[in-house]
């Protein structure tokens, strides 16, 4: 075990931190987030040039040989700077899923476009009422002479507002919550029958709902078949959860630093408010919460290649711990700022909203706590 970054990792982190710091002050990024895609296309090109879009992919899949650790390093810095780019969706979750689907003929070609920054992908698994259960798929995929016909609805497709193509889970056979029978299909934006309803998220990024009304796609568009679909999705969602956790860590630490600075400069009752012991101790508790959250980030990452049941349990434990820490840190960051923390013009509230959205991405607290506890039950029964 070694928690220190390799030289390459340290370089990656430093360049990410520098880029984010230089790209724009937080206030400007926030204003940008309210318009259009919710992120900067210029940043995206820069990410491609910096090699970040292939940082988490193995070399044989056109990447630079890194993995989730490298992804986490970048995502943490994006969280720290409130950068809204869809790196997690495209370059980590979708690309990672694709990289593992060796039966998909377009695999390398698609990944090449992703790594080059020329294609944005989004994962569409959530449905009305599914509440993060990847097996809860009512969207239907029917075989046709030329391929498949998809019908159904997907909701809260993260970064879906700007996606060039969607990776859609759809059921080939079985009942609504069966794990078997789920395929993953590549559906390009603009495919007839696909309606994309974009909207923005609480933290100013772009998401979308999809309506699939008899969407015809060729047979080659099946990325994963019904025997492996759920497994691939579950892997991808667990990686995604840890990616969102890394984002949280960056945002949490930035909110803590910002709060510490405020406590030193803001004066009330004739002295810097940081001299009030209650506030100083609160900040100490925030620090401890973030430190323990960071430990759970590393722990979760270390289990990503473990057998599925172990992986799921460990990722859920991480997501629970980090979401709880994020709620505490975010709320107290606002509290310690007092009135000014309530202003939309001040960044601290945006960190809180970022943490809230990350907390509800790829499984919320309730989902992960239940999955952890169920894992328990399974363990007891020797399953």
């Amino acid at each position: 075990m070694d928690f220190s970054l390799t030289e390459e990792q340290a370089l990656l982190r430093d360049s990410a931190r520098r880029f984010v710091a230089e790209a724009a002050p937080v206030e400007q990024r926030l204003a940008a987030a309210r318009q259009g895609d919710g992120f900067s296309r210029d940043h995206w090109s820069a990410f491609a040039e910096l090699g970040w879009l292939g940082a988490a992919l193995p070399e044989e899949a056109g990447g630079f040989g890194g993995g989730m650790l490298e992804a986490a390093i970048i995502l943490e810095e994006l969280g720290r700077g409130l950068v809204g780019a869809p790196l997690l969706s495209t370059a980590v979750v979708c690309a990672g899923l694709l990289a593992r689907c060796e039966g998909y003929a377009e695999r390398l070609a698609t990944l090449e476009l992703v790594v080059a920054g020329e294609s944005l992908l989004a994962l569409a698994t959530e449905e009305p009422g599914s509440r993060y259960d990847l097996a809860h798929v009512e969207t239907a995929a029917r075989e046709t002479a030329e391929g498949y016909r998809l019908s159904g609805r997907k909701i809260v497709v993260l970064d879906g507002a700007s996606a060039d193509a969607f990776m859609v889970s759809a059921r080939l056979f079985g009942e609504a919550r069966d794990r078997r029978g789920i395929g993953v299909f590549m559906v390009p934006f603009g495919t007839p029958g696909l309606t994309v309803r974009p909207y923005r998220t609480l933290d100013g990024r772009g998401a979308a709902d999809l309506v699939l009304a008899d969407v015809e796609i060729p047979s080659g568009a099946m990325v994963a078949g019904p025997d492996e679909g759920w497994d691939r999705l579950a892997e991808a969602a667990d990686r995604a959860a840890m990616g969102a956790a890394a984002d949280c860590l960056g945002a949490m630490e930035a909110a803590i630093e910002m709060t510490a600075d405020y406590l030193k400069t803001r004066r009330q009752f004739g002295r810097p408010i940081g001299e009030f012991q209650t506030l100083a101790h609160r900040l100490a508790d925030m620090f401890v919460a973030a430190e323990n959250a960071r430990s759970m980030l590393y722990r979760g990452l270390s289990f990503l290649d473990a057998p599925p049941a172990e992986r799921a349990r460990a990722v859920s434990a991480s997501k629970v711990a980090i979401t709880q820490a994020a709620a505490f840190v975010g709320q107290q960051a606002i509290q310690l700022h007092g009135g000014i923390g309530m202003s939309e013009e001040h960044p601290v509230g945006h960190f809180y909203k970022r943490l809230q959205v990350a907390g509800k991405s790829y499984g919320d607290l309730t989902f992960h706590m239940a999955r952890y506890v169920d894992g328990d039950a399974a363990r007891e029964q020797g399953a």
């Binding site: 309803r197 013009e345 809230q356 509800k360």
Partner: protein, 397 residues
């Protein structure tokens, strides 16, 4: 000790319920249920309905337009209004300046202002907080300099709720810069918002809503007769208000209604028949909130039942701490129950047409409300300040 409602109290509850349920227009109730900041038109309309009934200010003394109800009955009345999804009346006239006026105002001031407040013809805002002053009223810097028969006010106020549609402000200002605020340096002045020198700048809060403002006061001229009560008593009046505010900040009727709605949402089966309340964690959190709210409610009843003179600032502070925390916890649970539907941003106008996530019409407002309620532990004296008050008052620490 008598810990029960009398049969008369129960009959009173039924009377109030019958009236209120039929009096709240359905669309107004729907808007209230959704949360968010109440539109002025709703505040005015509901104010008028209660005024016509004679129930708009039950907590005022009868001679000024109150109902003469006991504290318990006022509480029952408020609970029934909340249960019927009536809007929460504008606070600053009825709860703050009104009581200040009838307690400390000159005969002319009472004559001039109380009627319009009761009728809902004139809306007020409170000019207390300033940039840099926050919970520390002793650091108010706005000045009111005597100039002949007038005062001339200069300064800046912040977090001024409803300033963008208020007709008047009551404003804390230093009328004597040579004397410390606590010792006679502060006064409260009342003036029209619609006059030269008053500039209102909206502050958008983290819920992306607009309910608070900055107000710039630039040589605002106020006749000396509009100085509330006595000059130099600003500190005393401010403390009087803060005490009042903290009891009503417990917000029990509203929290009770929010929790009822939340339970209803948790108990409603979705398309596949699943209910959120079947998740043991959610079930337990609901139960804990109900229990904690019951405790708060009885704490409020105990304070209300005690003679005014015996109510301590400390008990009001305790209610404020508990009340704000419960409001926050209810709103957090509501947000948690949204699951993935907590991710979309729902604007104030999103109820028309299909909602993001194909959400039901009760979803918009949930995320915004939990964000806005972060303020509940900050405003009216942060919860940290309340703890300091308790430690000092109860334990001389």
């Amino acid at each position: 000790m008598d810990l029960k409602l009398t049969a008369e109290d129960e009959a009173f509850r039924r009377e109030v319920r019958d009236f209120v349920r039929s009096a709240v227009p359905a669309d107004m109730a729907r808007r209230t249920r959704r949360g968010g900041h109440t539109p002025k038109a709703d505040l005015q309309a509901w104010n008028r309905i209660l005024y016509d009934k004679g129930w708009v200010a039950p907590h005022w003394p009868r001679e000024y337009g109150g109902t003469g109800w006991s504290a318990l009955r006022i509480h029952i009345f408020e609970e029934e209004c909340a249960a019927a999804d009536a809007p929460f009346l504008s606070y600053f006239g009825l709860r703050l300046i009104g009581p200040l006026l009838y307690t400390f105002g000159s005969p002319r001031q009472k004559e001039l202002h109380l009627g319009p407040i009761l009728r809902g013809d004139v809306f007020w805002c409170q000019g207390f907080s300033e940039p840099g002053s926050g919970s520390d009223l002793a650091s108010v810097r706005t000045t009111a300099a005597r100039d002949g028969d007038d005062y001339v006010i200069n300064g800046q106020k912040i977090w001024t709720t409803e300033a963008h549609y208020a007709d008047k402000m009551f404003c804390l200002a230093r009328t004597n810069p040579d004397v410390p605020p606590q010792k006679g340096g502060l006064s409260i002045l009342m003036f029209d918002m619609n006059q030269p020198g008053v500039t209102v700048r909206p502050i958008v809060t983290i819920d992306e809503g607009h309910s608070v403002n900055e107000v710039f006061l630039d040589n605002v001229r106020v006749p000396a007769v509009d100085l509330l009560g006595e000059a130099g008593q600003g500190w005393t009046y401010a403390k009087f208000l803060l005490g009042n505010e903290r009891v009503s900040n417990a917000q029990v009727p509203r929290s009770r209604r929010d929790l009822q709605l939340l339970r209803a949402r948790a108990e409603a089966p979705d398309a596949s028949g699943a209910r959120l309340v079947d998740n043991p964690d959610i079930r337990q959190r609901l139960a804990q909130l109900e229990i904690d709210l019951a405790a708060l409610e009885w704490s409020v009843l105990r304070v209300l039942a005690s003679p005014e003179g015996e109510r301590t600032q400390a008990s009001a502070s305790g209610l404020k701490i508990t009340g704000s925390e419960i409001q926050q916890r209810i709103s957090e649970l509501a947000y948690d129950l949204l699951g993935p539907l907590g991710v979309p941003f729902y604007g104030e106008d999103d109820v028309a047409g299909d909602l993001p996530g194909f959400a039901s019409p009760d979803v918009p407002g949930v995320a915004a409300r939990q964000l806005f309620l972060r303020a509940a532990s900050i405003y009216a004296g942060s919860n940290e300040i309340q703890r300091t008050i308790i430690a000092k008052q109860v334990f001389s620490l």
